[in-house]
Symmetry: C3
Subunit: 474 residues, 3 copies
């Protein structure tokens, strides 16, 4: 059984078949809750929450209790040795030597990956900064599937803070995997990060149409649609693109509206100043009175603040409290599968294997540009080297292994050409034709000429190309 001893760090760690196996077991367990007690007898789970949480921590802990297992909890960063300057790796190794399973929430993006790398037991990411929250996604999908029987081909609208909402980021990839169409309705200023959209189209196929290319009618509709992702399994829809928004909203309808709260705790000072939330309408009965919303499941990962009206609580379309309640059986299923206590048959033919990108890993050179990335934090740089996947060559794009933020380095060199002699150490613009010729294992990248010069490299004839390009743009 493939799930035993696996980690769940990002939703990519699970195939479609594995997710369906979890849903199936969750369904079975929720019907026979009392019979599950004792299943995890003698097992100990660490529940490590370094950010505020109600639902996620308490539902994980309830799930483990319902299985008869035991729990050790950290729910306050101030109360642990991280406050004394300990690294995540050290904590992971130590706690991993105590328990059978680790659940971790942490404000640094990629922190759960580090815990998984350094502990000897299965690790579940319960939210790492604005990166991912895969178990929330399992609850979300399970809720949709219970109602709609399938996820394939559905139109799912994402609403609110799509920039910092980690539940949204995990959900996007899962929806794409299952072949849903996604409509993006971000609060102005809180769009889905570019690196998420790029991964979406590069790895899951499908097409993304941005607001700029949507026609006027679409732009002026009630809700400010920002982009549409069309799954490759809906190939014919693309031809109807100009009218898609109207079609989706008024004809096919929206199958689920996934509302999210502005994640103010992650806002930059500038974003706080703009009071982003005020510019977005509240989801209420009035907004949902159109034909497109007749069959819409109203979802929210909770907690809500002002973005979702209480009047919808009694509405037959609302699903957010069920969504939360599913947290217990879904997590019971996940825990017992990762611990190898339960097994479920997996389909012989499963989803496409993960794409293998070349790794970029050097003692020097760029570190991850994401200020929340675990790999650049003072306590972690003592042992963590920056590590990236080379996900694209034109333009050259590196994606951080930990937080999955991407960036396009401006200069490149090769460790092959110079064979260690200073004389041949030259750097080139990343957009020059030389750049494309460097084999991944020899690739060296720099974000600035200063960096390159500091490492003893000298400009080649092709080092200036991008700067010219830039000045033209300006």
């Amino acid at each position: 059984m493939r799930l035993a001893n696996k980690n769940l760090v990002t939703i990519d760690d699970l195939s479609n078949g594995e997710m369906e196996a979890i849903f199936s077991l969750a369904n079975e367990m929720s019907g026979t809750m009392n019979e599950q007690f004792g299943l995890c007898r003698g097992k100990v789970m660490a529940s490590l929450f370094f950010e505020p949480s109600t639902r996620t921590r308490l539902s994980f802990e309830t799930a483990m209790h319902r299985l008869g297992g035991s729990i050790i909890t950290v729910s306050d960063v101030g109360a642990t040795s991280l406050a004394k300057g300990e690294s995540i790796a050290d904590m992971a190794r130590v706690i991993g030597s105590y328990v059978d399973l680790i659940v971790i929430r942490h404000p640094w993006e990629g922190a759960a990956r580090v815990v998984a790398d350094y502990s000897s037991v299965p690790v579940i990411n319960a939210g790492d900064g604005g990166h991912q929250h895969p178990t929330q996604t399992l609850c979300d999908l399970y809720t949709i599937q219970k109602d709609k029987k399938t996820i394939k081909g559905l139109n799912i609208a994402l609403w609110g803070d799509l920039k910092y909402g980690r539940t949204v980021h995990s959900l996007i990839f899962a929806l794409a995997k299952f072949g849903a169409n996604i409509l993006f309705y971000p609060t102005p200023g809180l769009k889905v990060p570019e690196h998420v959209l790029k991964k979406l189209t590069m790895e899951y196929g499908g097409e993304l149409e941005r607001r700029d290319t949507l026609n006027r009618t679409v732009k002026d509709s009630l809700i400010p649609l920002d982009a549409i992702y069309l799954t490759p399994s809906s190939p014919h829809q693309l031809a109807m693109m100009p009218n898609l928004n109207l079609q989706v909203e008024t004809r096919t309808g929206i199958d689920a509206l996934y509302v999210t709260r502005p994640q103010k705790e992650r806002f930059t000072a500038a974003e706080k100043g703009q009071e982003l939330k005020k510019s977005h309408p509240v989801v209420d009965k009035k907004m949902l009175r159109g034909k497109a919303f007749r069959q819409t499941l109203v979802m929210h990962p909770l907690p809500r603040v002002d973005e979702l009206a209480y009047e919808l609580d009694a509405d037959p379309r609302s699903r957010y409290f069920q969504q939360a309640a599913q947290g217990v059986p879904v997590r019971m299923a996940l825990i017992s599968l990762l611990l190898g206590i339960k097994e479920v048959p997996l389909p012989a033919e499963d989803t496409l294997p993960e794409i293998e990108y070349p790794l970029y890993r050097r003692e020097f050179g760029p570190s991850c540009p994401n200020p929340r990335c675990v790999s650049i934090q003072e306590t972690e740089t003592k042992y963590l080297q920056p590590e990236f996947k080379v996900v694209n060559r034109e333009p050259l794009t590196l994606r951080c292994t930990y937080c999955e933020h991407g960036f396009e380095p401006r200069y490149v060199a090769s460790s092959d050409w110079h064979k260690g002699t200073i004389a041949t150490k030259k750097y080139h613009s990343a957009v020059s034709h030389w750049a494309r010729k460097i084999r991944p294992e020899y690739l060296i990248v720099f974000n600035s000429e200063e960096e390159a010069l500091a490492r003893g490299f000298k400009p080649s004839r092709f080092s200036g190309m991008r700067r010219q390009g830039k000045s033209k743009k300006q």
Copy 2:
């Protein structure tokens, strides 16, 4: 069995018979502690403490563990989604979908009522601001009863902070229910709130004599007695009133002295400035050497600060550590009864049924005047409407359903008289004869003429009456 699935929000939720059933089961369980393990196997209790606690939280959790049940805990408001602005109702619904029982402590008065209203499982109030703390009262009564065999007819003295001490407020009503006399010895400035005293005399019968009406001898006794509540079951005592204090203190004696700590965390800025505690004597051996204290149980809900001398710890009259220790068996009994796991026979004839007051509930008009009331907090007004019980007509008195603070609105109108036409919308003084004629279902109240005018009402001939009354008083 009436107790299964009930909530315990205020001590009024339990009849005398039910309380005695709890005591009887607690007694049985404390004698056979080891046999109780496994009784709550597979059950999960949420222990939600949004205010500091040692005794209450730990004894609830120990009780559940001794029964073999499991616990999920929140012991730090900063670590939960309430910190993200979530409402109590949302939290109650979600956690209620996880567990079998909720125990909640919260600084807002009435918060436990909201949790009970919105969750689907039994809820126990473990202290809501300065309002009530009914399980402490169960421990208090159980301790007294173990020693004195009965509570009826006892003289119980309450000492210290009677204003903010929630344990005192719950205890007062329970003592009255069981037919005890109550002597009030408040720290100057920290008297029992008027709304508590009013409820006491209105709903439990009995007579209240204030300090002003007590004779000189009484006033000058060692301890500054503020008031005496005489249970209706002691009708003859009233005739002896002028000497009652002397009689109680020197002849009958005080059966229990219930000392409380100044609840400084709830003091207003002005109260903090006055350093209230300094003006009150410490309860020590010297104070208790009189004949009246020979059989007195010295009690304290703990924690103590300076109000109770350590020299009493070894005194045979001291009961405060036993009182704390009873927390485990009493809460074991309560938990297993509310979960329906244990049943106890209840007497056929039980205490008087609760008084049914007319409800006052309008979209507009006064909100609760208590600044700590849950119903006026920003996160809660999104879904909570003010709700009051009309507990008196002369003077017209409304009592908040949540925090039980009372107030006397100054103006009234009727929704019957004008049938929706503006012309007939008139408001009257609450003390006018019109006020008394309005049927409860038509009643509209205002705290000020501005409020009434703002809702489109105009003054009637009788709108000025109270203002005149007021100016006369001045």
Copy 3:
């Protein structure tokens, strides 16, 4: 079986035989972990952590869970009634009436002693300020013994913050008990406190050689050796003293290097300013490449900050993660022995009995000079009297019963000589010949002449002796 119902406050509470019994049971349990579940069924442990902790709290809790017991936890001082000004004694009494075992960590030195004195159940000290951390010492010794088969005669080097490191203080006494030699390598400014060294030589025998008496060669070696403690079981080594350091480092070798982190949270303002850590080399591969370190176990109680390089993690000599992992079986053994659930045979002949010192206890006079001592804290002085052991007469030395800090009072008097009459109340210098003649039960001490005068004592002819001595030194 001697261990049932005992307290473990300092490492002195355990004889060598008892420690070996714990190691033997820990060893057995770690090999049959799954069979231990259920052993503590129905038992409840209080896990009270008033200082940050990861390893200690979580390994205690994991240990109890692996035994099938239950836990109540306090992991945040702000969330308990200590925040309301409650004393440690009150807390100990109350929680001791709930549970079967208390584990306590507290910033005040001697706090665990108070808990043990006032609770009715066994108490384990999980770290009290800079005083002791005996269960860490058990893990440390167990780790060494597993590798080296014995502790007797080993050379153990202690490295880093030897002033505030409580794990070091417990370890020193245990090593001495088992007959190891100890090499002290403190960070400059963070030497082992004098009172620890004095207790070491006075109670465990052996000889201590300070840096000043070591020869030049020794002083100039790579590592700044500050002192060497030679166990009495190595009598012949002393003769070789001048070359001992060389011998130990280059010939016999160091059996274990125990590295500790600077305990910055306990630094004084002056110590913080000096940035003590910067002046001490990091323990890394380069430092450990000498012949003396070939068989050295590299140990650290964790968390580490910068004092121990990550490159050692993969080194075959590193033991710090095993040390942490042993926390679970060692604590499982300890818990089940203190609860009387497990019994192990103890050797008939055990280590030397504890030395019995005369107690000094007066209503007036000096309080403990240690600002972190539990006995001088505002909330505790209400019930705690200063109490000292008279551990030496020349010079007269008192050791606090709680925190074990020692001091030499400057003036003495006798309660025998004057028989209560003022006229004979005279005080003398503590170094005068009169001082030696006072029998312990009559001893009165003062830290200053003002103190003595304030209590009605007058100077004798011998009261000025120490002042003269002092002025000579200046």
